[in-house]
Amino acid sequence: MSSVLEGRWGYASIGDKIGAAVLQHPLGWRWLLAVIATSFGVLGFLTAIGYLFGKGVGIWGVNMPVAWGFAIANCVWWIGIGHAGTFISAVLLLLRQKWRTSINRFAEAMTLFAASMAGLFPLLHLGRPWDVYWLLPYPDSMGLWPQWRSPLIWDFFAIATYLTVSLLFWYVGLIPDLATLRDRAAKPLTRFAFALFALGWRGEARQWARHGQAYLLLAGLATPLVVSVHSVVSLDFAIGNTPGFHSTIFPPYFVAGALFSGFAMVITLAVPLRSAFGLHELITERHLENAAKVLLATGALVAYGYGAEAFMAFYGGDRYEIALQVNRWTGPYAAVYWSMIVCNVLLPQAMWWRRVRRSALLLFALSLVINLGMWMERVLIVLSSLHRDYLPSAWRVFVPTTWDWLFLVGSIATFAWLFLLFVRVLPLVSIAEMRELVHERAEGRA
């Protein structure tokens, strides 16, 4: 088993190594090229949003009975991806797992950006997005309140809380590192920016003590969010009396799927990051292997969810549930269903072999496959459950339009663009926490 920190590092050298990614800009034109490439996607996304606001949701393939299309599937997919960041930063912190240290910072950034993408889609789907503030309880002239019995309102509170708490947690963790960069930065403007956001952090014993307490408390508060946010998202479906939605297994099944797709995204980001910035000694094989093990475990839960759904349809004996299940296997979306099974259940079993868990390249490929598979799962839950209404006269197959695809690709590009900006302006590994690791190994003097 390789270590969570390899090589010989001292307090100064590890800080310089991580800080260099921000202060020395080692990628140069390659970073710029990636930013420009993703900028086109961002522009496309903005254009699509502008067109959507002008024309309405009819530009998508949605129509009765499939009133929820890609937008809702994308929302569920993105919010699920965010969960791994919170799991790594909060749950693994409380469990004192040392392997979280070098991956928590960028995983939290991933959470923020993924949750932002997720939060956008329901708003885009509103039809009248300028009325979004109606979701808030505020004293309006009509004397109305939000409908508290609606899971969609719970969802709004859950995602808004999740975004806020994730941001606070991320920022509190960043403060000491911002101070480190403030004291290293050569350019006055850079130094000023870091100084401002570091709030004048001095590394005082009292500050460290308070910081540690607040960080643990935020971890404790974020931990229930790991479970609750995607549970609430799943209730958007499960509360509805629709075959394929109306299932008690949905909350745990969604949470397992969230961690599954989230850890896949962590690998998708970690593998290119460590080779781009030469972080192989910080993000070691041990991290990849542990993430792969989490994928195996959560993948098993997801597979159990698929099995339980099918079993309950027949065991429950409800003819609509049975028809839906058979439809998923043989109906118009059968290809999506079986591709999903291949991506989420069959191929990930390769990770039982240590050689696969230790191969960055294979894990990267598998993580892309799982991301794709989890997206198909979200699409399947939304589409296949809706496309057969109780009356055959109301049946309709959803076919995505170009705009549907543009919103998906645009959100991925925007996520990547935000992430590229993040690795350029903020340390992608926690310097202060890595120094604690160095300290534990020996008093570093490098």
């Binding site: 000491p176 590394g203 500050q207 308070r210 300290h439």
Partner: protein
Amino acid sequence: MMHLRSATAGNPAALMAEFDTADRLLEVARAAHAAGYAAEAYAPFSIEGLAEALGVERSRIAPITFVAALAGGVLGYLMQWYSAVIDRPLNVGGRPLHSWPMFIPVAFELAVLCGALAALLAFIASAGLPRLRHPLFEVPAFTRATRDRFFLVLFVDDLAAARRWFQDWSPLALHEVPR
């Protein structure tokens, strides 16, 4: 902020000693506290036991967070109850107006949100942040407090006595903190 002011108020001078290991800093901090000095320690990462060694009192961040989370949850619940039962009763499918299980998710989210905001504010206030200007930042060597050096500052009347006291601990360097 408060503590540094109070610690320095009676003591006109401050002397800073520089060390290169965390264990050394911990040792000196314990000795300084035992000797009755008003002392503060600075390190590039969190050192277990350092705050205790200096006799830093426990903070109230945890109880503040707890109370705020509780208040957020209770008030969030009451808001839903008031709006659904008193202010605008709506009959939705014959459900009871006070359908309490449906009020739990929003109350829970508001509890977490208020708790997290309170934890952040309590941390910032009790850590004396934000404070962008500070006498310590005037010491050039202090930039290494966020890098690889460990500092102990004594707030004293008599600089010479503090210098003598530090000699026993063989610091890498001694710096006077400008007033």
